[in-house]
Subunit: 216 residues, 2 copies
């Protein structure tokens, strides 16, 4: 283990904030960005199904279009990086089998030995939910990846801003997501705060612990 | 800044796994647990509304009841800590005002100066969504806190297991949530893996990056 300290964790979570103005000149070091992509990849999800796609948009022309579909928020073009968190919209038995095949490959076990896991996944994902409920559930999973990403960026000292203020149908259309069986859920921008972002200096606002946490 | 290194971040995210067997004798150091509670408190949420409650269940008798409502999964009683992530079920204008009042207090600004933020929050949360959509949206936010919690625990070297396999209505009833305007969404257990947890030694299964990440 190569753990972080409590002071690092809490200090960096206090340091982070939803960055409103990024310095458009500042890039993220490639090795840092690779670590954040790896954090996305390693993000937990229910049953490990990973029913998501992370779309990293670097193309400036596409960014411009997305900005127009995102209430003209400057982060969308100014941040060094933009990630569109997308969900699979047609979740079927094949998604469960894709995961099982990956398990079999990585762990060198037979698919037959995974039959109990398959039965559980089929029951809880395919049989217990209709198509709409499945997508709603998979969308919630996407927010685990968002939380992983934001916490990871904070730990590395990289500014980020999660954003729901955009038109998902417009984003989907610009990125060609429907034909890929995907839909945008939430986005995050990352980079370095502008020296004059007035939000950077504001005190963080969170309820006191006793208002959000109950002990039983 | 007191950042973690890329190696720490990626190393600890690889170290973590959904712990199936906890050592019931191993507790979490109080200072470490306090840091994890602080990570929950500091978790980002849309517009900063924090429409959640984290229920930390220490009472062994309550844990026993919850285990029965959680497919008898041993983590629910054996883990040092159990957190039930709950969402507010009646989200109204008052929730927006509670947040604005906290901003005014913490930042020493007038409520009047926050009128534009209030207008945005009212439009996007109250006017744009009906009660059902609001709860569905708030539930997604809860998963940001879950991602924050799991990543934070991994960074500190604390084992954890996110769990959706439980009966939310039964959990709600055992914890008395409906009368508090809350509903359970997802749970997490935390502590130290048992020496004989056979899952601890298994290779982590994630799709290769090019299967979950697209560059545009």
């Amino acid at each position: 283990m190569n753990t972080a300290s409590r002071e690092q964790l809490v200090g960096q979570l206090n340091w982070r904030y939803a960055t409103k103005a990024f310095d458009p000149q500042k890039k993220i070091e490639p090795a840092d960005w690779a670590a954040l992509e790896e954090a996305l990849r390693l993000s937990p999800s229910s049953i490990g199904l990973q029913l998501w796609k992370f779309i990293v948009v670097d193309d400036p022309a596409v960014r411009e279009k997305l900005r127009a579909a995102g209430y003209a928020q400057p982060q969308i073009t100014d941040a060094a990086k933009l990630v569109v968190f997308a969900v699979k919209t047609d979740i079927t038995e094949a998604d469960i089998d894709a995961h099982l095949e990956e398990i079999a490959k990585v762990r060198g076990v037979s698919l037959e030995s995974l039959a109990p896991l398959r039965g559980m996944a089929m029951a809880s994902v395919i049989q217990a939910m209709d198509a709409e409920a499945r997508v709603a559930w998979a969308k919630r999973q996407v927010y685990i990846a968002l939380g992983t990403f934001l916490t990871s960026a904070a730990l590395l000292g990289i500014d980020a801003c999660p954003m729901e203020g955009f038109s998902p149908p417009d984003f989907d259309s610009i990125l060609g997501l429907p034909e890929k069986g995907l839909a945008s859920v939430v986005i995050a921008t990352a980079g370095q705060r502008a020296a004059d972002d007035k939000y950077a200096g504001l005190a963080k606002v969170r309820f006191p612990l006793d208002r959000v946490l109950v002990r039983i």
